[in-house]
């Protein structure tokens, strides 16, 4: 059963399928006999020597933070610079500073600035959207929290771009550097986001600096990748033409490569910004200020109304940032298609007029309290929260039959049996099964990799928690793949469906992971099932898109040939399109797994237990710090194990 998602890859080969089935059957028999033996269970408050050692390390680092030269001259310096930068932006828009009771620029100034920047980058419509969105944040009663989130996001984005774009340019120009950097970026992106929060706090303390560094580690890769991609995709002829006219390398870079790649680079900036926003809210776990903190506090007290209100603010912020950067990208295309001279003149006038108005608004918000502090009496946030709480209560008391029914069926039929199989078997039995499956699916090298990963899992002292998390992960991934294949095939076959569904998926992907939890928490209360649903919702869009693209990529001639030879629709799908899109299916499974795993910690906030809970507890309770760090490591190891196994299986089935 552990290999549901994995064995799917290879069911076409009867020999291999039979071996897999045999291994699984043997496992079931042994499990029935050995249940409860050697399960390496560890109570919630129990620690292993390793966890204790990490705690001690943490303490000793804490003690020597101001004496050890490595900290004095390196980590502390970085922390100071970043803290200063973040504090500076915060003092501009979010926090009282310079002896004033309020930030330098009040709400009116920020709204005007946001509208003006949106107008300059995108156009009139996004400017309206930005103004409306920001005003709404104030109406929600979350002005200060939103501005903290925005300040942290902007700080991280600025630093990420400062490093990311030059690195991207380098990777775009140099094949060798590109080969070096690509695996690093892969690693940065596949690592579940929470995992590096803990080690970072070891070096940079809990607070904005760690939050910003974690955010930029997570957010920089898209900017680097897309910059490199954009530069690589400039047609060779164009670059040669420039060289043939005697341009220096610098001239070619400035006048040919960067302008031509501009559109792609802006897409990268957009993705970096969305990733940063997502991570900044999550970084609330290590005490980053802002909306994320409000959501977490509300989640911990199961106050769905407040969580929803803050979640909505995150969504609004996400929509505004996404639309503005997307519009900025579109502008690059659109600006050169208008040949009407008055349009350019109108824009110039708009920029000057808007600039003056913005300056006036900033000055007003600096000088007068009414423009500085968002008026507290026009507030809708509490009514939103109250309404949602009422609705939640109603749902929980009236629809509990349905929601609990769904929850119980999935939990009892899928999650519980798998979990009891994984956590109830002796650890060596599970390890043997995984290694055996690795040999069958991926070969000896994959098996060695798996064995190392399993050894590390045992070493973290969190074997049983890891198995519980693995069970939830596999169930969630299986559901993701069912949805992915069903919707993906539909989209791949029907352009109409694609047109309707794709924007929804795009929107879902730009939302910070946190936001998903809130409605499901309302429907299903805190449980493993809630965490699984949130993970599925988070991971499904990626899987759907990959499957849809894979199905679409099947040569139309082949499909036509299948139709011409009299295949039914079902036959065409199962015998032609899915087999030919097999690589896409494997990739979708792989990405689905990675995305599900990256939600494990978020799930820990709403009752997923196991590793997710360990990590969350580790952030909040000092004596569990080491255990939390080990749990984070266990998530990474699980991720590497599953990632390597699916890749090896894919490579093998691809070769055959």
């Amino acid at each position: 059963m552990a290999a549901v998602a994995l064995s799917k890859v290879d069911l076409r080969r009867p020999g291999r399928g039979a071996v897999v089935a045999l291994v699984l059957a043997l496992w079931l028999v042994l499990w029935a006999l050995l249940k409860g033996l050697h399960t390496l269970a560890l109570g919630p408050a129990q620690l292993t020597p390793l966890h204790q050692a990490v705690n001690d390390l943490n303490d000793s680092i804490g003690a020597s933070r101001n004496t050890n030269p490595l900290f004095l001259y390196f980590f502390n310096e970085i922390r100071l610079v970043i803290d200063e930068f973040v504090t500076f932006i915060q003092s501009l828009i979010a926090q009282p500073a310079f002896g004033r009771p309020l930030p330098l620029i009040g709400w009116l100034g920020v709204v005007a600035l946001a509208a003006f920047v949106s107008y300059a980058a995108g156009g009139f419509r996004v400017a309206l959207l930005a103004a409306a969105g920001f005003t709404f944040l104030g109406l929600q009663g979350l002005w200060e929290e939103s501005m903290d989130t925005l300040a942290l996001t902007l700080a991280a984005v600025v630093i990420a771009l400062l490093f990311g774009i030059p690195i991207g340019i380098w990777a775009g120009l140099s094949d060798r550097f590109n080969r070096v950097i690509t695996p690093v970026l892969d690693f940065m992106q596949t690592m579940p986001t929470f995992v590096y929060l803990a080690p970072l706090t070891l070096f940079f303390l809990i607070g904005p600096a760690s939050a910003t560094i974690a955010t930029l580690v997570y957010a920089a890769p898209p900017a680097i990748r897309l910059t490199a991609y954009g530069i690589r995709n400039v047609p060779g002829d164009t670059v040669e033409a420039s060289a043939s006219l005697g341009a220096t390398d610098g001239q070619t870079l400035r006048k040919v490569l960067l302008p031509t790649a501009k559109r792609t680079i802006i897409v990268g900036i957009n993705q970096t910004m969305m990733a940063a926003l997502s991570m900044v809210t999550i970084a609330a776990l290590i005490d980053a200020p802002g909306l994320g903190k409000t959501v977490i506090k509300a989640l911990q007290t199961l106050d769905v109304g407040t969580a929803f209100n803050a979640g909505l603010a995150i969504v609004v912020l996400a929509i505004v940032l996404d639309r503005v950067t997307t519009a900025a990208g579109d502008r690059v295309d659109r600006a050169r298609l208008t040949r009407r001279p008055w349009a350019a003149r109108a824009r110039q006038g708009g920029l000057i007029g808007g600039g003056v108005l913005t300056l006036v608004a900033v000055w007003l918000s600096y000088t007068y309290v009414w423009a500085a502090e968002f008026p507290p009496d026009v507030e809708v946030g509490s009514s939103i929260a109250k309404g949602v709480t009422t609705a939640t209560d109603w749902v929980q008391s009236n629809l509990s039959g349905i929601t609990n029914g769904v929850k119980d069926v999935v939990t009892l039929v899928l999650v519980d049996p798998l979990q009891s199989l994984l956590t109830g078997s002796p650890w060596w039995l599970v390890a043997a099964v995984v290694v055996a499956l690795s040999v069958v699916l991926g070969g000896i090298r994959a098996a060695i990799g798996s064995a190392v990963c399993l050894g590390l899992l045992v070493a973290t002292g969190l074997w049983q928690d890891s198995m519980a998390t693995l069970a939830s992960t596999l169930v969630a991934t299986a559901v993701v793949m069912v949805i992915g294949v069903a919707v993906g095939v539909w989209m791949g076959r029907s352009p109409g469906a694609d047109r309707v569904i794709r924007p929804v998926l795009d929107a879902a992907q730009t939302m910070p992971a946190f936001v998903y939890l809130v409605p499901f928490l309302a429907l299903f209360a805190a449980s493993r099932f809630t965490a699984i649903v949130a993970a599925v919702v988070f991971a499904a869009p990626v899987a759907v898109k990959i499957v849809a693209d894979g199905v679409r990529a099947v040569s139309p001639t082949t499909v036509e040939a299948a139709t011409a030879s009299g295949s039914s629709t079902w036959q065409t799908i199962t015998k032609v399109q899915l087999p030919m899109a097999r690589q896409a299916l494997v990739l979708a499974t792989n990405q689905g797994l990675v995305y599900v795993l990256s939600m494990v910690v978020v799930g820990g906030l709403v009752g997923a237990g196991a590793l997710g809970y360990d990590v969350v507890a580790g952030f909040s309770q000092g004596q569990l710090y080491g255990k939390g760090l080990a749990a984070g490591l266990a998530i990474v190891v699980l991720g590497v194990l599953l990632d390597r196994l699916t890749r090896a299986a894919a490579a093998r089935s691809g070769r055959s």
Binding site: P235, D237, T238, V239, E240, A241, S242, A243, S244, L245, G246, A247, T248, Q251, K255, V256, P259, T260, K262, V332, R336, L337, R339
Partner: protein
């Protein structure tokens, strides 16, 4: 086939000093590529054998030729023959592995980066197969790009660019963006960009392969017209024999990186050096290419020698009417000397049948 005149250019005349001289140029891709040209053993191998032995691909092998001032020199070959690599070796867009490229006696391969840029800015220009235009710049700014990177002031380069716009027939499009133009118009922009810097030599890398046949013909005529008007030396790469015959004063046929034959169009058709070239020129309408000197025969005792006189370089098609109308065979005369005669039989063999060389 459109009208043509093969005898443009200094063919046959004693040539002035060449503008470009290419000597034993090699381009080998792969590990330890520098070792290949120097080793007689490796040089003797075929391309595939070399690949198997060393992992190297020899794109250009020991190529040499001269291009005279004002000449249109065509390099022709199928895809993979190394012709595009060869033209890139001339201005070192691709660095040659060995050999010499002389431009007006100066070895380009010895030039440092600065000198090379000067040469590219002032002496050579290139037109590319896929145009290589800058999508974010208007037509006029695309054309003046070469001047811009030289540091020519804006007003001056706009003035110069407008002149070239006129020259290539782009008037009215100078404010458009490249993706608003058809393929043919885009290539006019590419041509204009190459002409804007007033180079001595124009290099064309399969410039019309990506265009529709009708537009291709227009553009070919455009090149002929430009050559007549501006008189630049041109080096033209193509895989299309008809294009080569139409444009080229002389044609170099490449195969697997090597030179197979260099000559005028009628030389290739009339005296192919091997089966490869013969196969290549098989479907050419011979009457349009061959001149009288290729089909004349020595007068026999019973021939009546009072027919009209024609030069040896008259194309068969143009001579057909005269030969058939005359009662006696036409005399082929150059500088008052009788070279041979052409009768109805010889003309008909070319016009009606292709079996003359079989």
């Amino acid at each position: 086939m459109a009208a043509q005149d093969v005898e443009v250019g200094p063919v046959g005349a004693e040539r002035p000093d060449p503008v470009i001289s290419v000597r034993d140029v090699w381009k080998v891709f792969g590990p330890k590529a520098e070792g290949v040209p120097g080793s007689p053993e490796l040089c003797a191998l075929s391309r595939r054998e070399l690949m198997e032995r060393t992992g190297c691909t020899a794109a250009v092998r020991e190529v040499g030729f001269d291009v005279a001032p004002g000449e249109v020199f065509v390099v022709m070959g199928l895809s993979g023959s190394g012709k595009s690599t060869l033209v890139r070796c001339l201005t070192r867009l691709v660095e040659p592995t060995a050999g010499q490229v002389l431009f007006e006696g100066e070895d380009i391969l010895a030039a440092d980066a600065k000198r090379l840029r000067e040469l590219r800015r002032n002496k050579f220009s290139m037109v590319f197969q896929h145009f290589g235009l800058l999508p974010h710049r208007r037509v006029l700014d695309n054309i003046s790009y070469g001047l811009e990177i030289r540091g020519v002031p804006r007003a001056e380069r706009s003035r110069r660019a407008m002149e070239v716009v006129e020259l290539v027939g782009l008037s009215g499009y100078e404010k458009s963006y490249p993706d608003q133009l058809s393929g043919g118009m885009q290539q006019r922009v590419g041509l204009a960009r190459a002409l804007a810097g007033d180079p001595d030599v124009l290099l064309f890398d399969e410039p019309f392969s990506a265009l529709d046949p009708l537009i291709r013909r227009d553009m070919q005529n455009e090149v002929i017209r430009l050559h007549r008007e501006v008189g630049k030396t041109m080096l033209f790469i193509t895989h299309d024999l008809a294009e080569a015959l139409k444009l080229g004063d002389r044609i170099l046929i490449m195969r697997d990186g090597k030179v197979v034959q260099v000559g005028t169009g009628d030389e290739l058709v009339g005296a192919p050096v091997d089966d490869y070239v013969r196969d290549f020129v098989r479907d050419v309408p011979r009457a349009n290419v061959l001149t009288l000197k290729w089909i004349m025969r020595d007068p026999r005792p019973d021939d009546v020698l009072d027919g009209p006189e024609l030069g040896p370089d008259v194309v068969v098609r143009d001579a057909t009417r005269a030969v058939l109308a005359a009662a006696a065979p036409v005399k082929v005369v150059e500088n008052g000397e009788l070279l041979g005669i052409v009768g109805d039989e010889e003309i008909l063999a070319v016009v009606a049948g292709q079996e003359a060389d079989a």
